[in-house]
Amino acid sequence: MNFDAIRRAVRLQGLTPASVLPEASGGRLEEAAIRPARLTEGEALQTIAIGRGEEWPGSVAYLDGIQRSEILGYAGSAPLFGATLAAAVRERHERRLLTVLEARKSVVLGRPAALAAAGDSISALETIPLPDTEPGHPLRDLLNAGEAVDQSRGALEIVVGNQYRDRCQGWLVVDGALSVSPRWAADPRMVAISKSHSILPFEGADLEQYLRLPCGHRSSVYAPASRSLAPVRAWGLRLWPWEGKDLLYGLVRVEVAPENGISEQANTISRWIMTDRAPVSAPDRRWDRLLYGMYSVEQYLKARG
């Protein structure tokens, strides 16, 4: 059925029609929740125009990682998974991106018993045991393996990010959150950009205002109610017009160290990020939120296998 007529009717009813749910905008759907944040800029949530885009000052680099997993076999009914993890930093020189750091590793995941049963066949690889507190269920193990691979990749990114920071003091843009590492959370030259919004910082009218940021606008700066102990500052930023598509379209969450969480710096960093909208990272389906630098790192890592 073609729902266009319904969309028009919805609009007449004063609702907001939408047509596209942005790819991967939900993150881990099982974690979707509202975790009210504390505003650190103003008394009430504001919608702030950031002005025209600006280029990043000095050198800027992008850190991202990829993961790929597949099933290797079963020990009885318990699955064994193999995963390849990779992370890299690509630095921009004279408008061109060059890889300056790269790390890669392969791991095997499974319940401890399954790993033990595999014996020497996996002895050359790092192993990651999956929880075995519950009775074995192959699909539950699959979900656990996915989570473990995510964490492992995150850990690898932290290692690579720290290596880069040890050798260079330029701006480093990472995919996701700074709060995963206390060092990152305190780094005044790091910016994290999250494409997913499974955890939202406001509710009610504030949430509506947050999700209806116009293009080229940011929200007030807030302190996310992070599970991690590393405090950061964040704000929402609309990269592309969402009207006619979806509330989450073109919306990213920007995370910075607390010292960058002041209004002027938030505006400046937002302007830098807006400049990075182009070139768009199409044909990636997340191109409305995925910066080209990040896309370039992913493409590089995928090309390297």
Binding site: D276, P279, A282
Partner: protein, 646 residues
Amino acid sequence: MNKQDPLGRVVATELKPSTPHQFHFWTARESPIGIGAIVRVEENGRVVYGVVTDGFAYSDLMTPMHAVIGADGDPVAAGAEATVRAEIRLFTAAVLRQMPEEPLQPVPLGSVWLASDADVVLALRMDAYAGGDRPTGIPVGLYAAGGLESPVYLDCDFLLGPEAAHLNITGVSGLATKTSAVEFLLSSIFQTFPTHKGSVAAVCFNVKGPDLCFLDQGASLSEEDERQYARLGLLPEPFQDVHYYAPLKPDGVNLNSLRTNEALAANTEPLVWGLREVLDYAEVVLNRDDIDAKADAFIDFLAERVVGREYHDEMLRGKPFHVQSFADLDEFFRSIFDFMEAMGRGSEVWRTHHVATIRKVRNRLSNISTRSKGLVTDDGASNDLPWGRFDDRSVHVIDVAGLDPLAQDLVFARVVSKLREHLERRDLGVDHVVVFVDELNKYAPADGPDTYVRKMLVDLSERGRYLGLVLFSAQQFRSQVQRRVVGNAGTGIYGRMDTDELAMPAYGTISAATKIKLATLPKGELMLRHPHFTQPIFVKFPRPPVLNSREGIERFPPAAELPFPDAVARQMRRLDRRVSSEAVRELIDGRRDDDVRRALAATRRERPADPFAFFTACLGRRVLSEVPAPRRGIPALKHADDAYGG
């Protein structure tokens, strides 16, 4: 980047696989690779040489719409993006050679290097002929890419025979590529043609302007040209042994050529033919409608029984005919017609030849002497090329630029036929002759009637190499030339080409990128096909070591057309510098022009020790004119009784 570092890497996908004849490779954005560059691929002991035929660049942009979106529709912003998209330089190369040759396999996915001097030798298979004890390489130009510059050689066995032969040059007019390339190549041949292959000479037809009129005059070359000559192992010197032949103008004494400057007179002489020379090639000058079995039979009769012999026919006249010239022939025809008129009604046939046929042949032949006046003389005296006395490394230029097309055909047909006859008998004086013909599309057109000249060119291109008779031809549009003629040219040279010409099916095997390069080729560069090269190669060549037409005309402006006495004096002085112009003028004063021309032709032909004395003798005793006294009238008779008498 180090010169020893690879420049790229072969890539193969299902859609663009490597094959035994083609491969693809990518390079950095700033690589020196371009269309026509020769590259080497090495992998696991296998070496493949290729020449770049196409190039591609693209970014990771999937659709132009994303570029518009990224720039908010502003083209200025599109160029100012903070990050430049990832992009690729992908090249396609055609395989020149694989080593080892067997088994013939797809090109391996190895590293790619720019070819070095040694690589170029191997890639073009020049190792088989450019070195060793008996090299047969003829330098043709320099292959240049990425700062490297390597001499390229043609194999003379495949250029001048016997393995293959002939060369064809095509390119637009006005860039001097065609003429310059031939002049340079002839110079190269003359300097490097190996002695163990025998002797060589060249016969060039100058068909337009002063193109080939200054082959014996050196040009001042730039340092870059001289460096290129040195790199090719050649000396930038003009041709040493050049002979020019040009027909006379209708006045029979002035040369019909732009090479009439007094300073160039020493090796420029008239080309004059008589009836005998023309009649053997009557078929050339008679159009297709003229040639029927009856006319042909009558021409054969004239050639076999009448011309150059004593012919006696009591019915025509009592004394025998001695037909040596067009004038004699006309007298012979008049006798036939007088006889037939005398015979009256009913006698329309003379010796089985119908009067209409005889009249037609007479009209056509007399037309030759009219249209080719200056080349063909009425008096039978001829001045021709030195058949049987061609010297090694000599150049004979026949200037037909000022001739009627019919006369050009005649010259061309006769000269080539004579060359073939002498080479068949091995008595020309040299073993190989290069015949250079420009405007080939005029003499051997793809369309149009199958003329004698075209048939002769086809024959030359198909069988000439066995005789050592080699055709170097040039034209603006190769597609307009008879396919068999250009198809038999073992070596092909392409200068800058017209895009319409490149769109013809004949160029279907050339890649689009190579066509673009051909359409924009600078002066002094050309594309080369040769039997040893499996793919066309781009080379550059230095300016020829001789004056070009423009410089030549400026330095040696043509002499003004002289009055008859002065022109005769100049020709006499050409034979003997001691002869005074004044003496000649005084000698011929009051003489009939025809008598003077006849005496001059005889002197030219005989080349006596004392030309002036011989000329004087030929003119004979002056017949003084005398004014007859007025005749006295006969007085009228007077009669006194005549009433009307005066």
